[in-house]
């Protein structure tokens, strides 16, 4: 397989055990380059742990993760400058201004012309008026825009998003989705998006992986999932899987 054909992410038999609890139970999947994949699942399904293992934040109990050709977490520094992550559950220093926070992260990611890059993201994410305000004084929607700007500072080839629109009003959430769509179209980056928002996943993703109790319950394109389950929305499919109605519908 050539480097270009190599998946952006390859997960093989991945598992994570905390004490006696299996957070992730031997899952396998590969993310095609340029794809936008949704990771669905209820609370405790193992989505965040899976993302954390892909990022090298958590060491797997078993199995392997390969990101852009590098074994994680052992070879993480070969690829971390090409990866980024956004989650409303991870904050940026609140007392620093938006400009200061983004400057520090731009330098950490080795961005060449920091001033020009910051001017660009300020324009793209409508942050110009917020640039010199402390990050802690921004609204939830403004903070999400800043986090997303941070996540795209280094033009990542792989972007991992953990509920990027959680607690946002519909207008801001729609703006975030539009921005993500544009980035993917322009950059050809691969995206893994964990979300509880079915409409969001349906709109953005060309593939959906549904997790339950640490395992992959289903994995297909949204349209094919709807057809197989005989449902009109992804939310109905999700409820079928979550409530164990798979046997009577899809199978």
């Amino acid at each position: 397989m050539s480097v270009c054909e190599e998946p952006a992410v390859r997960v093989d038999g991945l598992s994570k055990v905390y004490g006696t609890a299996k957070a992730v139970d031997g899952i396998s999947f590969a993310l095609r380059r340029g794809s936008l994949t949704g990771l669905l699942g209820g609370n405790g399904a193992g989505k965040t742990t899976t993302i954390a293992m892909i990022l090298g934040l958590v060491t797997p109990s078993g199995g392997t993760v390969t990101v852009l050709g590098a074994q994680m977490p052992r070879q993480r520094y070969r690829v971390l400058h090409r990866v980024n992550f956004e989650s409303p559950y991870v904050d940026m220093p609140m007392r620093l201004t938006v400009r200061q926070n983004l400057t520090v992260f731009a330098k950490l990611y080795g961005v060449e012309d920091v001033g020009a890059r910051l001017a660009r993201v300020a324009e793209e994410f409508d942050l110009t008026d917020l640039f010199d305000r402390p990050t802690g004084r921004l609204s939830a929607g403004q903070k999400t825009r800043v986090s997303l700007a941070k996540a795209l500072l280094n033009h990542p080839d792989l972007l991992l998003l953990d509920e990027p629109t959680a607690s946002l009003d519909p207008d801001t959430a729609d703006w975030v989705r539009g921005r993500l769509e544009r980035y993917c179209e322009q950059s050809g980056a691969s995206v893994l998006l964990a979300s509880h928002n079915m409409a969001e996943v349906e709109r953005l993703c060309d593939r959906v992986i549904i997790m339950k109790r640490g395992r992959i319950e289903d994995d297909d394109a949204p349209a094919r999932l709807l057809a197989r389950y005989g449902r009109e929305t992804l939310e109905q499919v999700f409820l079928d899987v979550a409530r164990g109605r798979v046997e009577t519908t899809a199978r």
Binding site: T59, Y77, N84, D91, Q100, K107, K150
Partner: protein, 273 residues
């Protein structure tokens, strides 16, 4: 190329600079924090300085021991504030739940630790320089008059403070902010054992053995030798330095082990909670 050599070549001064810049932004954004850096060392120095003044006026021996209290206070503050400066910069990441952002960035742990060491010196300088000038003005004690000896004292004390800071940061990383208290209190364990204000000979024999296992003991003993006996004990400084190397390497290994354990435990995403 060996993985170790690779890691050394990959060390990026730019990333270290970015982290130092981040802590500098934080520091200058809060004047109470800046003030605090000077406040406690000044209070300590003044209290002990006046006590020394009183004793000097009333006892012949202490007249010869001029400066040992104020010197002890200032050197103790290098040790204590050096560790605190390291630990507080680290805690800033935990308090702001920013650790996951750093750990998924290309920042290497060795660069992170280097930035924390630089910041401990910056914070120390902000606190100690004004206080050392106060010591000259109030008590005629010129810390800088110690010359090269001061450099040896400083190097040994700051190395110990970094070792303790690195170890404590590893413990906090692994156990969360529940272990934060260690950052504020652990150095006080050194205070009676390192013999800051009295000679090692004052301790019972078995405690002297423990005291000589700590690098700062050699520094404070060396300070007294210099101020009372007017002798610079380079042998003590070399012994302190040897012990410091052991302390530093041990704490770096412990930090590495604790970071590995944190990744296994899966607490980096929730770091701070």
């Amino acid at each position: 190329m060996t993985p170790m050599l690779n890691r050394m070549i990959d060390f990026s001064p730019r990333r270290v600079g970015a982290m130092v810049q981040r802590y500098w932004y934080l520091l200058r954004s809060s004047w109470p924090r800046l003030l605090e850096l000077i406040y406690w060392p000044a209070v300590q120095m003044l209290m002990w300085g006046f006590l020394q003044l009183y004793i000097v006026q009333n006892a012949g021996f202490f007249a010869r021991a001029g400066g040992t209290f104020v010197g002890g206070v200032l050197l103790w503050d290098i040790l204590f504030r050096g560790q605190l400066g390291f630990s507080i910069s680290f805690l800033e990441e935990m308090w702001s739940r920013n650790m996951a952002n750093l750990m998924i960035s290309p920042l290497r742990p060795v660069e992170f630790v280097t930035a924390l060491m630089v910041m401990s010196i910056v914070r120390l300088a902000i606190g100690m320089v004004p206080v050392s000038i106060l010591a000259i003005l109030f008590f005629g004690f010129n810390l800088y008059g110690l010359g090269l000896a001061l450099a040896a004292f400083f190097a040994n004390l700051i190395l110990t403070s970094w070792s303790v800071g690195i170890l404590v940061s590893g413990v906090v990383l692994r156990n969360g902010l529940g272990a934060e208290g260690l950052s504020w209190t652990i150095m006080f364990l050194f205070m009676p054992l390192a013999c800051v204000y009295y000679p090692v000979a004052t301790l019972p024999g078995w405690l002297q053995t423990i005291a000589w296992m700590l690098p700062p003991t050699y520094v404070f003993e060396g300070m007294r030798a210099l101020l009372i006996g007017k002798v610079f004990r380079s042998d003590l400084m070399l012994e302190a330095f040897s012990l410091n190397i052991i302390f530093f390497v041990t704490s770096v290994l412990c930090f590495h082990g604790l970071l590995v354990s944190t990744r296994k435990h899966g607490s980096l995403l929730q770091a701070g909670e």
